[in-house]
Symmetry: D2
Subunit: 446 residues, 4 copies
Amino acid sequence: MMPNDFFSDLLSTISGRGRTLLGRASSQQRLTADDVVALCDALLSSRGEASGTAVARDVLDAYAQLDADGRGEVFAALAHRFGPDDDRLRKAAQRWESDPTDATATDLHFASEPRRQELFRRLNRAPGATRELVAMRADLLECLAERPALKVVDRDMVHLLASWFNRGFLVLRRIDWSTPAIILEKVIRYEAVHEIRGWADLRRRIDPADRRCYAFFHPALNDEPLIFVEVALTESIPQAIAPLLAEERVPTTAERARTAVFYSISNCQKGLAGITFGNFLIKQVVEELRREMPKLDTFVTLSPVPGFLSWLKSDDAPLADADRARIAGIDATADVAALDELRPTIEPLAAHYFLKAKNGRGQPIDPVARFHLGNGARLERIDWLGDVSAKGLQESAGLMVNYLYRLEDIEKNHEAFVNQGVVAASTAVRKMSKPEGRRMLDLRLS
Amino acid sequence: MMPNDFFSDLLSTISGRGRTLLGRASSQQRLTADDVVALCDALLSSRGEASGTAVARDVLDAYAQLDADGRGEVFAALAHRFGPDDDRLRKAAQRWESDPTDATATDLHFASEPRRQELFRRLNRAPGATRELVAMRADLLECLAERPALKVVDRDMVHLLASWFNRGFLVLRRIDWSTPAIILEKVIRYEAVHEIRGWADLRRRIDPADRRCYAFFHPALNDEPLIFVEVALTESIPQAIAPLLAEERVPTTAERARTAVFYSISNCQKGLAGITFGNFLIKQVVEELRREMPKLDTFVTLSPVPGFLSWLKSDDAPLADADRARIAGIDATADVAALDELRPTIEPLAAHYFLKAKNGRGQPIDPVARFHLGNGARLERIDWLGDVSAKGLQESAGLMVNYLYRLEDIEKNHEAFVNQGVVAASTAVRKMSKPEGRRMLDLRLS
Amino acid sequence: MMPNDFFSDLLSTISGRGRTLLGRASSQQRLTADDVVALCDALLSSRGEASGTAVARDVLDAYAQLDADGRGEVFAALAHRFGPDDDRLRKAAQRWESDPTDATATDLHFASEPRRQELFRRLNRAPGATRELVAMRADLLECLAERPALKVVDRDMVHLLASWFNRGFLVLRRIDWSTPAIILEKVIRYEAVHEIRGWADLRRRIDPADRRCYAFFHPALNDEPLIFVEVALTESIPQAIAPLLAEERVPTTAERARTAVFYSISNCQKGLAGITFGNFLIKQVVEELRREMPKLDTFVTLSPVPGFLSWLKSDDAPLADADRARIAGIDATADVAALDELRPTIEPLAAHYFLKAKNGRGQPIDPVARFHLGNGARLERIDWLGDVSAKGLQESAGLMVNYLYRLEDIEKNHEAFVNQGVVAASTAVRKMSKPEGRRMLDLRLS
Amino acid sequence: MMPNDFFSDLLSTISGRGRTLLGRASSQQRLTADDVVALCDALLSSRGEASGTAVARDVLDAYAQLDADGRGEVFAALAHRFGPDDDRLRKAAQRWESDPTDATATDLHFASEPRRQELFRRLNRAPGATRELVAMRADLLECLAERPALKVVDRDMVHLLASWFNRGFLVLRRIDWSTPAIILEKVIRYEAVHEIRGWADLRRRIDPADRRCYAFFHPALNDEPLIFVEVALTESIPQAIAPLLAEERVPTTAERARTAVFYSISNCQKGLAGITFGNFLIKQVVEELRREMPKLDTFVTLSPVPGFLSWLKSDDAPLADADRARIAGIDATADVAALDELRPTIEPLAAHYFLKAKNGRGQPIDPVARFHLGNGARLERIDWLGDVSAKGLQESAGLMVNYLYRLEDIEKNHEAFVNQGVVAASTAVRKMSKPEGRRMLDLRLS
């Protein structure tokens, strides 16, 4: 936003390589990865201090012109040439080994800091830089698959971004029909759970009196939501997504609403992958809603089960051979009536999937389950045919589930889950995993 | 701002030490340093994650109740008990020594991170915490004098605060008569150079058309200026402070103003001592002013010389014995007319003070000189009797100086100063330090 | 926004008819027009003063429940029962006649004020009332066609609304992609000239660097634009609308833009019909654009000619019999190539339409022409096939025109137009209306 | 805010008197009242319409240069030369007399409108004009004393200003320590009841948790409060002002506050004299406070009695001859202990003053009493020695009173006061006016 003519003037007077680079930049000649790295060196030098934010801006502008190969080269240089100062590190390590005190340990920590961390901090001084650094991290993630050696750069970027996007700096804002279009457009684009089909669909999710949407924002990325959650206010815990999103539905009045349903939570920034906001978002939205509507007493999700069908079709699922073929046929185009006949077969397996099946680290297979259970929620109910869209059938044979956030149990559930791998679940779900439970459930529902 | 009743409820249900602590907190019983440390442990544990920001808030609230001794105990615990994980550090050091790669070096860096850094980051998650962490750093600085072992804690706090108060996150705002009183009040309080004597005096500095005041703010400390600078717009470079601040002066019209005078720059936050904003502030204000008023062509300070008189009275000053006694008599109550007779003696010594006298690190003795010369300004003029207030006489025998910020020289000056200790100065100042120069100057001025 | 419980309490304690009415209101019983009129009486009584804004709110709420018939009855009562106080008026008239002074004339004016004016002013005290009064005026306009006696009510409403929506109270705001969706949605809905087909189309009109949209707002109707204008920045005066609105067009850079084209101006509030903002809007937007982009030197419209084709087909058009049949066949589905053959016939008639044809009041027939010429613009060019959409063909056989706003001519043009009916037009347009001019034009274009 | 260079250009091209005037304006030559009147003529002419808001700005700028005599001449011209159009008025009067219908009566009303009303409306179109029109009204009020013939101009200004400052357009804002200094400075200046002695005193009135200050603002006068009220939250109804304003007082906690005391209400704009906001302000602040603090159950004033002592010393007071001399001696320097001996004499007279003494229009003599009783409050208590400041002694022999706003009585009190002149008062006050009541009161208090 702030013009840099002060420093454009300034830099236009300097001599040497800097002048060459900037001459090229202004003559619209394309800069190379080597040029970017040379500018990074300049930024870390004394000259970088004198020029305030101008060299940082030059690095970012030059980087923005690179193609994927060029970016990869820059990241490689960051990995290999911008690590810690070897000499300083070696001395600090020796001092600590010969005299391991609080002071020498701290020295060792600061001596081992890769120089790229200071580079990123200096880059961040330029106006608008935070947004570009987030984008740079997204670029890095793309390179990472093919170049695992860049992992060291990623650790530093994640470390800094996590510190800068500390929850204390985030601002919760409600998203509604008074929100600027530039933000709403991003909500449409980033919605990852139940696609928003245009502006009319968006309006149905944020404008009615029984709908809420909240997002976290960072002051340095003013028109970019970081993560948002969509909430429906209902009388009771819903069993299916379609009625919640139906065009022709009667809104729940404030007087009758007792339940807040978190039916979609979406991260917006690829460059912030791995930095978790969801836990904080849900908890703060619960606080907001309780303050605004003291009558609400149930806070629950209506969640997809993205890993279920592929697990069900895998060898890991304890399936009778007779069932295996029928289940193999389920896909995005499955006939719902036919599918419904499989309910007695699938439901106990679903309970098994949540309660007993584990991944390599001893955690539930389902990523959504790991998120909510890790937050201290409990698995409240399995919703048969909760999502019969193509996506729902494809992912989970139509299954959805509710995770319940009960204030008084959150910490206990979280600790049991983290420390002992215990999955908090309602009695109904527990019984479903046992044959007799299954039968009782059938009786109750019939 | 956000009530924490969600988690107050939550925490009221937990058992063990936590319950005891919180019970005490709510019963208004005073918590001890040990309690605070126990809460810090809880915050770093798994429980801290589940409870979101509530335990962080508890730590901060409990800390706020401690007296100076209690705070010292907490800092001592942070120094000794919240350092790096010894075992993890030792293993990482061994791996790096046996195989020093980018990856093992990075591992070593993260393994050596003191656990208090993560603690501070988690504390910062609580609403309003950043302000409290800045205050905590101010507390720490008070303890540091007597407890040098706390230096390790300070390095970590400075590291984190410098990252969080990165220039890219700061917002420049103009301070004027439309600014909220809660901020103006702090400008009055924090002004460190030329005292502001109440609201009428303040208004004379920020409201007239030829005055400007700018400050940096951080989004998490909304009504706290971090640093501010006061600017007068004038026709030419001023030689004394009193006419600039006179109650009965005729404002300079926008048409005639060619010079922007930075006559006072004050840091506001003790807890951010050592984290420099001044360099960035001056440069951005120059940009702002140039954009608003393209006719401005001179950017200059009118600065105090806080170390001059005590140096002049010291053995370091190359003083003729005859003069030594007369100079020893100068103090806050000096008679200006009598002082003026010493001009031929003192001015060359002043030039010497700036150009030749050095501190232990080979830098100028004067802290204000170090700041502006380090920013790339040059010493433009020595202003005899520029400040004849008691403070001005006391500090510098009434001397003031102008530092000139010339765009095309900033980087060159900065590099020469940092790398070779060269002090950029005008010809007039240079000549003043030589006897013949002195004579020429006398002729010119007579 | 402000709850009225204070006065709900208050009013629930009163006796008589008021209590009955309010009892009914709270029991959700439908109020009648008579009830509304009774509440109007209460509002004008002393009781109305004591209760602050509560009775005003009651009137508006009760009115909002009425159907079209009920509203008509209320307006009839306003016309007949809320006129001036007869007795007071008669006495003031007599005094003025026997002694016509400044004072008695003023007395007569205030004595003749219909009581409904005070009623509307009191209604306007309620929170949010201005919006409802504007809507009430729209209701009144619907009734007016069938009930001309309500004209007296309309004069009073127009009088008050014109005073309240005085240009001095309006705020110009830019509409862009950062504008809240609730406002953008209304821009889509109210666009009256070139339909906006959804959000993507809207974005093409307000987001690119060479597009602008500005609207007037009133502080009491915060999210309701009153009137807005869409502007395209171009190199030269455009001859057709389609290229301006094309999905795949290359934006004009700021460096090359010399012309601001006002291609659509739309009123948004039916209830403010007859209160003109357009004149002020265009002039202020010209000022805004000149300040932002000093290189702009041409301010011009690209305007429809809504009355042309129906005039052309009427007996008023001086048409050769041979042409009459061919012209009678032009409609929304006209073939453009065939139409183009009629250019030598139609263009001189178009010039005649603008320059010579007049309505009953001696003004141009075309309403858009009356607006821009009345503002002091001049007719610059007739754009053959400027709008070949169905609507453009239907209204004007595809014709568009440019009106040019030249600063130095606005007042002169306006005065000549208002006082002598002179239509300011370029030489090119003037020549087009004469046979020889027509030939010269043909030569020039060939 | 919006530059008018568009029209400065424009107007610089016109010929005739306008050019002369504007030439003079730009040459800094002083304009005369005749010039201003000529510009007013231009503004009402067709030229005024074409030029948008430029001529309006010229009138206001030219008016601003006039001295008091010049302003008086302009107002005289407005009174005599900008009345209604005589001819049009005469015809409308005749039509109405021969055929008195709704339509002819309305015609008569509009025909009798003084042309200065339209003039003021057109003036108001210029940016910032509303503020200048309010100032113009203040000028007019100064002239009015000596020139009663200007009353006709005042009626029109009041009529328009009352409509423009309709309560529906006013915005209630809280004034606190976050309010811009430019507004706070005005609160200090305009406080009319209990003088604010500088910024520290101001802060004590707006910053503590048990203090509130609210003001009405108009969107066109953004940094000008129109009227403000200062509120203290207390446990019970206070009897004296000094403890409320004491520097060293213990704030009332939110838990204990049951009473909101309106202890000062001040109008800020001389130019809006006679346009009442106070009624609406008190009622809306009551609503605000009730919403924020539901425990508040008593809304009361602590009010001065400005007319009491001069009445007491007048022949109107039913004073025993023996008392007359002692009372004649009371003034700003009265000894409080001596005064206290007169309590049995003065209190019954105070009750008489409020309950029985009337001015020429049959209303209470005291203006503050008329205001609150007219709003529907009741006189709750007479506070002996409530204000022993010099001003308090001088005005009312130290007396203060509390007016109580009880929701359920406001309308009843108001109607009884307006229609039958009944003063609502507590039993205690009533009894005080009777000898036996006086005695009982003595007993009760002893």
